[in-house]
Symmetry: C2
Subunit: 659 residues, 2 copies
Amino acid sequence: MSHPVAANEVKNYEADDISQYESEQQLEKYPSTYTVGCPPRKRFLKEFADGLKETFFSDDPLKPYKDQPKSKKFMLGLQFLFPIFEWGRNYNLIKFKGDVIAGLTIASLCIPQDIGYAKLANLEPQHGLYSSFVPPLIYAFMGSSRDIAIGPVAVVSLLLGSLLQDELDPINNKEEYLRLAFTATFFAGITQALLGFLRLGFLIDFLSHAAIVGFMAGAAITIGLQQLKGFLGIEKFTKQTDIISVMKSVFRPFPHGWNWPTILIGTIFLVFLLVAKYMGKKNRKLFWLPAIAPLISVVLATFFVYITHAERHGVQIVKHIKKGINPSSLELIYFSGPFLGKGVKIGIIAGMIALTEAVAIGRTFASMKDYQLDGNKEMVALGTMNVVGSMTSCYVATGSFSRSAVNYMSGCQTPVSNLVMSVVVFFTLLLITPLFKYTPNAILSSIIISAVIGLIDYEAAFLIWKVDKFDFIACMGAFLGVIFASVEIGLLIAVFISFAKILLQVTRPRTTILGNLPRTTIYRNIEQYPDANRVPGVLVVRVDSAIYFTNSNYVKERILRWLADEEEKLKNKNIPQIEFLVVDMSPVTDIDTSGIHALEDLFKSLQKREVKLALANPGPVIMEKLHASEFVELIGNDKIFLTVGDAVMNCAKKSKEDV
Amino acid sequence: MSHPVAANEVKNYEADDISQYESEQQLEKYPSTYTVGCPPRKRFLKEFADGLKETFFSDDPLKPYKDQPKSKKFMLGLQFLFPIFEWGRNYNLIKFKGDVIAGLTIASLCIPQDIGYAKLANLEPQHGLYSSFVPPLIYAFMGSSRDIAIGPVAVVSLLLGSLLQDELDPINNKEEYLRLAFTATFFAGITQALLGFLRLGFLIDFLSHAAIVGFMAGAAITIGLQQLKGFLGIEKFTKQTDIISVMKSVFRPFPHGWNWPTILIGTIFLVFLLVAKYMGKKNRKLFWLPAIAPLISVVLATFFVYITHAERHGVQIVKHIKKGINPSSLELIYFSGPFLGKGVKIGIIAGMIALTEAVAIGRTFASMKDYQLDGNKEMVALGTMNVVGSMTSCYVATGSFSRSAVNYMSGCQTPVSNLVMSVVVFFTLLLITPLFKYTPNAILSSIIISAVIGLIDYEAAFLIWKVDKFDFIACMGAFLGVIFASVEIGLLIAVFISFAKILLQVTRPRTTILGNLPRTTIYRNIEQYPDANRVPGVLVVRVDSAIYFTNSNYVKERILRWLADEEEKLKNKNIPQIEFLVVDMSPVTDIDTSGIHALEDLFKSLQKREVKLALANPGPVIMEKLHASEFVELIGNDKIFLTVGDAVMNCAKKSKEDV
């Protein structure tokens, strides 16, 4: 082949640019010094085992057991399952003091919240309290997060209630509804424990952060709107959760359907709660104020209703909470029959969402205090606590955002704070539930409203907007889905968008044209570095992803299109045509058979166009596979270079020799 | 901070290695010459539009329309929809000659195949012929592949028959079965056309090559086994397609249930067909031999049965094929009622599989003759032809592997060969179908067996084994699923494994430790290049993937684990501890909010360990997002370097200054 113009140009270029940086001698010597390495092939089973290990045991949990005597191994296994044996050994009075204070604080916060959240799940108030007694107790022994506060939470309660009432009416089929709730809780626990046990914890990472932010904010607003029933004292209220139905329910009975004494009580205490919250945020020393404000409100409001008999003026009250601790509910779980399947389905959904919330909380605080959290172990703990919970009349419990933050700020040290909370709830159930009789519903609504406001993370949403517009669309999609349709639809949208993003990522990887930074051998993206020069006669393209079946065709066609675009640009100018195509493989971490076929097709197409193909810096996996598939033999071993610089220099030399 | 040992070591290292390659002066000057570029921010809508364009219009189909007069635009649009107006303008007698020969050859091949394939779909033989008349006719006008041969194919026929008979019995509910078949065909066409029209053609890429190889081979064996009914003349045969049921059906009636005259006829012609196939493969000039062998067999066998009246000795014959061309079936399609949903479901599955096959064929031959194929346009053509087909008594047609290869080898030039074939089938339907009355079923079975053997691509399977073990598992999973369970199960396994592979890819990206190649500033994977040296006091890690929500946690924890492993190794040696962690971001093509959170967490964790973080070569998108999220301000702008070499040199310098 001979292109006199091309060769000439390349020669000039070489003389002008490269020699300033490196001497001609180096240029000759350099490419021969290093060839692209191909590591010794691993045996199939070894390779496969390594892959499995990295996927499922990337945190290497068995490392401490290595070379230990049997008794030590047993102890380590016990500590693995029950971390209490690990941190318990260094437990002391100072830590205990922190835990007691934190435990008492979150207990005062959880009691009124529990009663309200149980209502979101269409359950009786005592089930909320039950769920703050048994699950935290189990978690204290098995959990490894030091800051999480366990119990019922708003979003999961809403989701569970919403899914359950699609199957059964909570008023007309009260008993079956309760049984289905326990069934779902049981299978939520099984799902969580199994995910952890099978080390599939990474599955929850498939819900993107952006989708979660949107979903949570939507759920918070939906929950807030639901509270308008109690807050305004409306008797007839829609069962739908979308904003339009709720607004109709709110404004249709106006003004006679609104109970003004209720609104008065609700507003006063809501203002009190919000002020307390604001002060707690402004002055971190006052963190206890928002933490105990709910209980104070409940006590004051209950006392007020009791002495004024406001319930006779239409102020709705809690009326009755069953006294005594959790009864057994094992015999109520459906292990057969038509509700089994429904329970499993609801359990899986609620379990996954509960898990997402708990793991997010656990990770947040672990990174704040800089300790490692084993996600899979955590899931086994959460799953076990829900399985036991389902047999003791609890519904799905998980980590609560608001209470965990309070727990952290009150100075908790270990899961003992959950134990303390659990004991307080135990005495509450045993002794003082009858006192809640006169508690007005409006107070519970105010408490829930002030609690869920914290779930609306507008700062995160703004950051998402700034960083990634596509993520923002995912966020808004989930948000609007929850608000205008339902929790399930919002969740579906969140999952769907998250997956669409993953698929898009693997289908349309970026490809970039590289140029030479003057006076260096470095090649960089010409869009990012306007100084970078194209090398005449050579087109350097970088593929920014593994080449798999999902994108192999796109990558091949995109490279050919870069070439065609480039050739069109050069057509009318007096510049040499492209003679060499260098593909920078540095970011290509893996390739499969489809990818190799695509490279072969690319090579054939280039041959017909009289353009030579060279590869720069393929990684070890790529080299191994290119050898196995004999692609190296096809394009020639001398067409594979250590760096883009080597490849371009070699092309330039070849071109010179041709003349 | 001061680590005398570290500084000393780094100094020595510098003196020994770097200075041989670059002068000290350059070392000082060099990092300051280029800073990491951050391209001007694109406006949101522009960015979004660019993203959409790259995803859905990556082939830039509107480019030729730019700056053209209206009449030209209309003409281009017409040519886009009906490529016949494009290639038709250069059509000439020489091309026509090639097309006629190819058309006649594939017609002779398709007629006996069609009759057999219709049986796989539990339809009457004429429907197979109908489907080789109308769809190829439409395709000739709208299609752009020059080599594909359109008509019913084995795998889709089997799949369709298998899906349909799950809903309706093909014998007892003959009429409804036929109507459901047309309904499914209609929606298969709609699915295909919609995918193309919405430019979602890339969705079919989500079925991996390996899974398709396995699925096809499994389907071929299943189809072959099904033919044992006709081949052995067995009367009672299972409806299941799994190998165990089929084997029971085959061997239970042995020997009296086997019809020996049938076996004799079948075996003779199967041997003839296989020999013809072998000779055609050995000597490419004899390509016509395997192409016309089936028709010759049919003619000979029919004649033989006619004169010997073998049907009276239990040799099963075709008996009756309805004469005349396609009747209308528009009124038979279910547009409402309970079968609508089922038809849609079956149509979507069959349509997608048909599409996968047609696009794979189209791409293969386009790359052999080096012309571009617009996948989305092709889908619209295939969809339209099936929609029209469903209204004219055809069932799902697509591109046939075996006939397309024959078409190619017979020297076809344009889709006119499909037109020729269509005309031949038209006359067959009109005139000679009654002659097929005495055709023995055994011959059709032999023809199908010899045709589907070509679908077993053991060479591809072997290549997959050599290149990628995980892919091979996917391949075998689909293969065994089809053979031992059913076509649907095999397909499900193929889809499931393909998705699992995608998800694995995005969850567990590779991370690599880089080392310095002596006498260069190049940093490479130390596993691939045993020469590469670690730089004392500095750990260089490369992340080989975009950092997204799916892997951000893993990436963070993996980097920290590399650090911990490294520190443990160094603990007992007299080597400086790690002071700097350099993350090579070259392969990181994108990052989302979760990814940025992970980097922030990483930074905080490193701060607690007194290790400094530096980034090398972040791309334009990354830089933009790191700026937007103020991460650059967090770690300091001077911690972001153009190359790993710069970063390491800078760290070494800093360390020296500290002393």
